[in-house]
Amino acid sequence: MGAEHAATSASRFGRLVPLLGLAVLAALPAVLTPYTQDLVLKIAVFAIFALSLELLVGTTGLVSLGHAAFFGIGAYAAVLFTGGVGSLPAALAWLAGDGGAAPLLKLLALSVGFAALYALFVGALSLRTTGVYFIMVTLAFAQMAYFVFHDTKVGGGSDGIFLYAKPVLEIGGTTLIDLDRKSHFYYFTLGALAFTYGVLALVNRSRLGHALAGIRVNEQRMRAAGFRTYGYKLAAFVIAGALAGLAGFLVGVKDGAVNPELLSWHESGAVLLMIILGGIGSLRGAVLGAVAFTLLKELFQSEALLGPLAGHWQLTLGLTIIAFVALLPKGLIGLKQRLAGASHG
């Protein structure tokens, strides 16, 4: 009885962990140097990106190797529709601003919207395939988007384009949010992370989320029960794409620049790496993975800490990944469980 009680109180505490984390993050700017604050921002953006993929991989069991496409499209939309740069096709030009003030809500909607739209297109086609094919097809569609931005004039070609005016939220003439200001952007990103986490937590506890989990375990059984699984998977794909677009919007505004490499398969690979590093199957794992991946790379590339070895970070990172996947197939989250299991046993 006592043990049971302890377990429930532990899980109650566990439920508070994300909120605690958020509170810590909100208090951080007071103590951070500008660089570490940037690092936190970068991790937060990647965490959103990783969370969005977690819905596909962890919840629904769809391994996409082309998730960076939506991330990149979101980023490009944020910059292109600010106006004044790139050369949008006439059909889309009316959506762009004049290069002056950049309305936050409109740009956010366009970023998320276009990412979702492309996800709808890619999902509609790629979800006809399964397994290895699905992985490859998502990769190919991401490459397609990559080459559109790389080879055509739409987004300034291979060098990419810059953002000249950062988005602003104005209501009745007063500026509520100005993303050009460090603190505004920090809390806005934090808000976006909380929003993403919240949305996905809601999805996971909803009927949609349960159906997606069912599809992951046995799609055939779900169809036999009467689920139009294609529609469910497509919904997951579009939600994931839209949230990746949100992360893209943030990265576009954060860097003030976008370029085709945001859509490259290396980026898709990196985000997959994050969620597996953290542990597939939990939102916390995705966030943890984003933190771990960013810091690991930071560590391996740091000459101050590793000396000349930093020049060979590919080797150290590669070997670490191999060791990680070999020893911790369930990710960092799994490590915690394993330790907990060991102490009980």
């Binding site: 375990v217 009467g226 699984t229």
Partner: protein
Amino acid sequence: MAEALLRSNLLTRRFGGLTAVNGVSLAFHIGEVHAVIGTNGAGKSTLINMLSGEIPASGGSIHFDGQDITDWPQPKRARAGLGRSYQRTTIFPEFSVLENCRLCAQAALPRAWAVWESAQRCEASLAVAREALAAAGLADVAQRQAGTLSHGGKRQLEIAMCLATKPRVLLLDEPLAGMGAEETDRMLALLASLKATHAVLLVEHDMDAVFRIADRITVMVNGEVIASDVPAAIRSNRDVQTAYLGEGH
């Protein structure tokens, strides 16, 4: 006799050069357990797969409740009232027994996109799921993790999940496979109780059980129906004896 609830007409399925099911016409009625027997590779599973919509037919048609459903996809058939179970256990082992059934019951509910509503508090699906569990005799273990059930328990859950979709036809693919005598008795009692409100198609290898419960037996050999009649007539059918029963007896 009343109009059949589910009827196949010259149903055929070819895989490349192989004809797995050839011109099968059968009718299934509420209040009747209709068993389909035959050797391995006779086309029984293919028949179930075609009726449930898992694989498309190469020829022929399927009618359900007066409608031509030959071209309907599987989920649509399932929601219309065609429930099936699988030869291999296909429960969701990580979920609770209740959740397994609740999930299946959820398929029929509207507003799947309402992500702010908690699945575990979805009363509509919970009620159906509890009903199905009670009918299948699993009410006591509703909170257990499904993967921890005994083999027989899992087979019962399989039926319960099928019931949770509120079907009118039950397409059961070897529900007795691997069961002990006691478990078999329990399952047969369950089937007998379901027969009143459902049309039941039973594919089964356990001949004793088939002859105990079936109201009608169809024998398939090499994808074709060689006999379809009441059990007593099948037992004395010479073709069946030579083609099928002869092997075992």
